[in-house]
Amino acid sequence: MKKGDYAMNNAKHLAKRANASVEPVQHHDTVAPPVDVYENGDELLVVADVPGASHDGIDVQLEKGQLTILARRVDDTTGAPVATEYRSHDYFRVFSVPQGVDASKIDAQLTAGVLRLRLPKSESLKPRRIEVRQG
């Protein structure tokens, strides 16, 4: 085999590998959804607008004190665009969860494109009344 033939075969081989490694990947940009946070004595309530995200497309994880929200949306973009004000995107946001939140009781609910996360406080974080003894 001549040196040139080897180089050509090698190039073909690399091209084959490159083609084989290409997989159809649906890439969506992500935006940070706006949130409101409410707090009372028992829990924290995080409310986030994630229009277009369905129940199946929501992923909420708590790991090492970080609460991660990923919400995927699927849009019908058939037809010719006449006016477009927003691009199809997913939602992604990370929060630091304060110590004292009972991770095992975090609850997520999605209604009409609004995600509500309830983070119950553990007993140590709840306000408690301190009895004053008579001296």
């Binding site: 706006p34 949130v35 409101d36 946070v37 409410y38 707090e39 009372n40 309530l45 409310v47 607008d49 994630v50 229009p51 277009g52 995200a53 369905s54 949306r73 849009d75 019908d76 973009t77 058939t78 037809g79 010719a80 665009p81 006449v82 006016a83 477009t84 004000e85 927003y86 999605l110 009409a112 494109g113 609004v114």
Partner: protein, 107 residues
């Protein structure tokens, strides 16, 4: 009231309007076809939670938007659905635009 973002698509038979209105349900969403080919969308948003938020990034308010369509849109036959906080309004196109010849006279 806040103005929601929208996308508008068309094909040969209809226009399809897509509006992001989180919090919208069939009972609190009002879509109307008005004069001058104008479609209005109004969503009366309920309170997110009782009390004031300790952190607030968006104003809690109704959604309202008006959109002017081209004359071939037949809003009287429009159909709207809402799902996952996204409103979709389908407005069929008229098959033929009514037209009238205007005579031109020598001045």
């Amino acid at each position: 009231m806040a103005a929601p973002s929208l996308d508008l698509f068309e094909n040969q038979s209809e226009f399809r309007l897509v509006v992001d209105v989180p919090g919208a349900t069939p009972s609190n969403t009002h879509v109307a076809w008005n004069d001058f080919e104008t479609l209005s969308v109004h969503v009366q948003r309920a309170a997110l939670a009782p009390g004031a938020p300790s952190l607030s990034e968006y104003e809690e308010s109704d959604w309202y938007r008006e959109i002017v369509f081209s004359p071939d849109a037949d809003g009287t036959k429009a159909h709207s659905t809402v799902r996952d906080g996204v409103l979709t309004v389908r407005v069929p196109k008229r098959r033929t635009l009514s037209s009238k010849l205007i005579p031109v006279y020598a001045a």
